[in-house]
């Protein structure tokens, strides 16, 4: 017992100061992607064909990035021979709409805080039920990591609970395959109104690496309205946390900026 207490003392406090302190990532970290159109050649179609994902979209107004389809792979950046696609170390990229993930530059309008009754209800206490529906298990591993002493999700009043009846919303991961479709719908229906839906990871947003499989519905189906979209494969725990805290109004809204306002 004394040894345990000694080790606890030696261990010190290991919880990140985030969001009050900076979020730091190593040099190679692949966060939010960017598209520099000034570098584009006239062969975007070739780049799109070489891409391992459908992150590069070609429209009438030129190329755009779909962060919801991005798999955050070095092969995506390598698909453009002109170096127009790159990954920044910015971990923030959760949005309030699916369309918000598609931009000409990779800069996104980050999720806004809930308003009115929902903010009053959930702002200081949010209970979520996790529904895994055809994933590789990677996103879930990062959601589990949010509970460890480093990220310590509970300090924000956010918890994963054991029943949809206890929940304010669901976090969906996975492609939503036929074998989980019914379970997802039933869980969603079992959560009392008002309820939130959070789609975490490329699979839940658009099918991810499995998008072309007949066993994938291409993410959360239309009948389940999503309030927060968190890209990643899998998203870094801080990407998920940043999205959740923005939704709850605990981090200031903004499309970009050096970092969350100090003291927030």
């Amino acid at each position: 017992m004394l040894k345990m207490l000694r080790d606890r003392w030696l261990g010190g406090t290991r919880t990140l100061r985030f969001p009050n302190g900076p979020a730091e990532f190593p040099e190679r970290f692949r966060g939010r992607p960017t598209l520099d159109r000034s570098r584009c050649g006239d062969d975007c179609r070739d780049c799109a064909a070489r891409m391992p994902s459908t992150m590069l979209r070609l429209g009438p107004h030129g190329p755009a990035l779909d962060l919801g389809a991005a798999l955050f792979s070095p092969d995506e950046a390598a698909a453009c021979p002109h170096g127009a696609i790159a990954y920044t170390r910015d971990h923030r990229m959760a949005t309030g709409s699916r369309g918000g993930l598609v931009t000409p530059t990779g800069e996104v309008e980050l999720a806004r805080a809930l308003e009115g009754r929902a903010r009053r209800l959930f702002g200081r206490s949010l209970k979520l039920r996790s529904v895994v529906a055809g994933s590789c298990g990677g996103c879930e591993a990062e959601l589990v990591a949010l509970g460890n002493v480093v990220f310590d999700l509970a300090r924000f009043g956010i918890q994963f609970v054991a029943s949809p009846r206890h929940a304010d919303g669901i976090i969906v991961t996975g492609t939503v395959n036929p074998n989980m479709r019914l379970a997802l719908e039933k869980t969603y229906e079992a959560v009392p109104d008002p309820r939130l839906v959070i789609a975490v990871g490329a699979c839940a947003i658009g099918g991810g690496p499995f998008a072309d499989s007949p066993e994938s519905a291409g993410g959360v189906p239309d009948g389940i309205p999503v309030d927060l979209w968190v890209p990643g494969c899998p998203p870094h725990p801080l990407t998920v946390l940043d999205g959740l805290l923005r939704l709850l109004g605990r981090i200031e809204t903004g499309t970009r900026g050096p970092r969350a306002r100090a003291g927030e």
Partner: protein
């Protein structure tokens, strides 16, 4: 071994498809049964469409003592006599063949849907009625004093989906039926049909906590077929990444097990140390699970000199902190009382089911691809195998602790003395046509096996993926009878099997 191809099939050495004998089903059947009876292990058994109506069954066997593999095959139509009654190791494989190819292994004692999906490897000239995914014939026990407890697929935590049905007498479990398939994404068909660059990302997403292991197996098979030679440096970086993945998983699971028995200090410390290991992968590859690192020909990211020094510092600190926390945890009577004698897998069950990895080593079987079928850096740097005898939760926990210590030693040694060479060799060559390659990797759960067969144009004709969980889910079902339902979470965590890796 009684079945012979004439040319040596070894881990990552391909052979011509024509060299794989196609035998009458009776000879195929007795050949596999006799080989397994003589001590061989069934690494893989699968079907592929062969012509309009026929399915080719292919068995890959391992002679672990001699480090050799062997492949044999047979052509069947809609049914054949099952191997399982005489060779229980085939039991899940034959259910898989039945589901993927709509071929009935007659006489199979437990022929139920495995993942509940329509056949995806059906010969072109055959059609089958639609599959009712909700129709599953559950095992039933009748009796006034018995009850059933069903759990899942949506669980009371952040856990992958699966359904567990307990038959219990009071708290005592009589029988556990595990129904999986909720994570099925059609991985094998994607690997067989997507472009190489896209298939690579699917291979990294077979099991999200075994990114390196599966990427390593996938690349191993492709490199054998493409005659790609990697530099010693690339092999060493890959081996280091595989051991980092093992460290993260084992340390994390020791923490999760401590959490399940409410031993909070170990849960907190191990959870944090797991993060340190993941962050080393992040530093190396830009992703906490090592996505993007392993690519055909080597690794996409090299270890710089500063990075190597920093990694050794972190690993040295992790080793010290792990040793302190593990000493506290394993010497606590309350921990010992909760781990010992719970979830015992008898060693004959382990042998019959062909269990792999730490689950098998905890039953006394010194089975480890790193030493039985060594590849890459493991041919030169050996990691001693640890075993335990009891087969219970305590044995699996102690074993993981030992493996953490040995992996840490290996890593520090490897990273301090990384060989020279390019990180990634040119991997542009086409795959050899009509060849079969088997790539084995000792992932942190045990043996990962990828079998890849090419067609006459060098395109992938069949990709057979096996995660160690495929074998070891049966061990969890076998470990539960006699225990209480409340021991299930701890028992489950001591294996921590992959739903995604099983469901594909």
């Amino acid at each position: 071994m009684t079945v012979a191809t004439g040319r040596a099939l070894r881990n990552r050495r391909s052979i011509p498809w024509a060299a794989v004998p196609c035998r009458p089903i009776a000879a195929f059947r007795s050949g596999v049964i006799d080989a397994v009876g003589a001590g061989a292990r069934l690494v893989s058994l699968f079907g592929l469409a062969d012509g309009d109506r026929e399915t080719r069954l292919v068995a890959v066997l391992a002679d672990d003592a001699r480090g050799e593999l062997d492949a044999t095959s047979a052509r069947v139509e809609e049914r054949y006599p099952a191997l399982t009654p005489e060779c229980p190791q085939a039991h899940v494989f034959e259910r898989e063949v039945a589901e993927q190819c709509a071929v009935t292994p007659e006489g199979h004692p437990w022929l139920k849907p495995l993942r509940r999906h329509p056949p995806d490897h059906l010969p072109s000239g055959r059609s089958v009625p639609p599959v009712d995914r909700e129709d599953y014939p559950f095992f039933r026990i009748d009796g006034d004093e018995l009850h059933e407890v069903g759990v899942g697929p949506v669980h009371a935590g952040i856990i992958e989906p699966g359904h567990f049905r307990f038959h219990a007498h009071g708290e005592r479990v009589l029988f556990l039926e595990i129904v999986l398939g909720y994570q099925h994404r059609g991985v094998e068909r994607l690997l067989e049909t997507l472009t190489p660059v896209r298939a690579m990302l699917v291979a990294e997403s077979i099991a999200g906590d075994t990114v390196i292991g599966h990427a390593e197996a996938w690349c191993g098979a492709l490199e054998a077929l493409g005659r790609v030679h990697k530099s010693p440096r690339a092999q060493a970086v890959r081996a280091a990444a595989l051991e980092l993945e093992r460290l993260a998983a084992h340390i994390g699971d020791l923490g999760a097990m401590a959490g399940d028995i409410a031993y909070a200090p170990a849960a907190a410390t191990f959870g944090r140390l797991r993060g340190d290991c993941l962050n080393l992968l992040l530093t190396l590859s830009g992703n906490r699970y090592g996505r993007g690192l392993v690519r055909p020909g080597g690794v996409a990211f090299d270890v710089t000199a500063e990075m190597a020094a920093a990694m050794v510092d972190v690993l040295t600190r992790v080793a010290a902190e792990f040793a302190r926390a593990a000493d506290d945890c394993f010497s606590a009577e309350s921990v010992q009382a909760r781990y010992e004698g719970v979830g015992v897998v008898p060693s004959d069950v382990c042998r019959d089911l062909g269990l792999v990895g730490a689950a098998a080593r905890a039953c006394g079987f010194a089975r480890d691809v790193r030493s039985d079928h060594p590849w890459g850096a493991f041919r030169y740097a050996h990691i001693p195998i640890a075993t335990a005898a009891a087969g219970d939760v305590a044995a699996r926990a102690v074993l993981r602790r030992l493996e953490v210590e040995r992996s840490l030693e290996f890593l520090i040694e490897q990273i301090r003395a990384l060989p020279r060479g390019v990180a990634r060799a040119d991997a542009g060559g086409p795959l050899a046509p009509e060849e079969l390659a088997v790539a084995l990797v000792e992932g942190w759960r045990g043996e990962i096996a990828h079998v890849v067969l090419t067609d006459e144009r060098g395109a992938i004709r069949r990709a057979k993926i096996k995660d160690p969980s495929f074998h070891n889910w049966s061990a969890l079902a076998a470990a539960m009878p006699g225990n209480t339902i409340s021991d299930f979470p701890l028992c489950n965590k001591s294996f921590n099997l992959s739903y995604a890796g099983h469901d594909l």
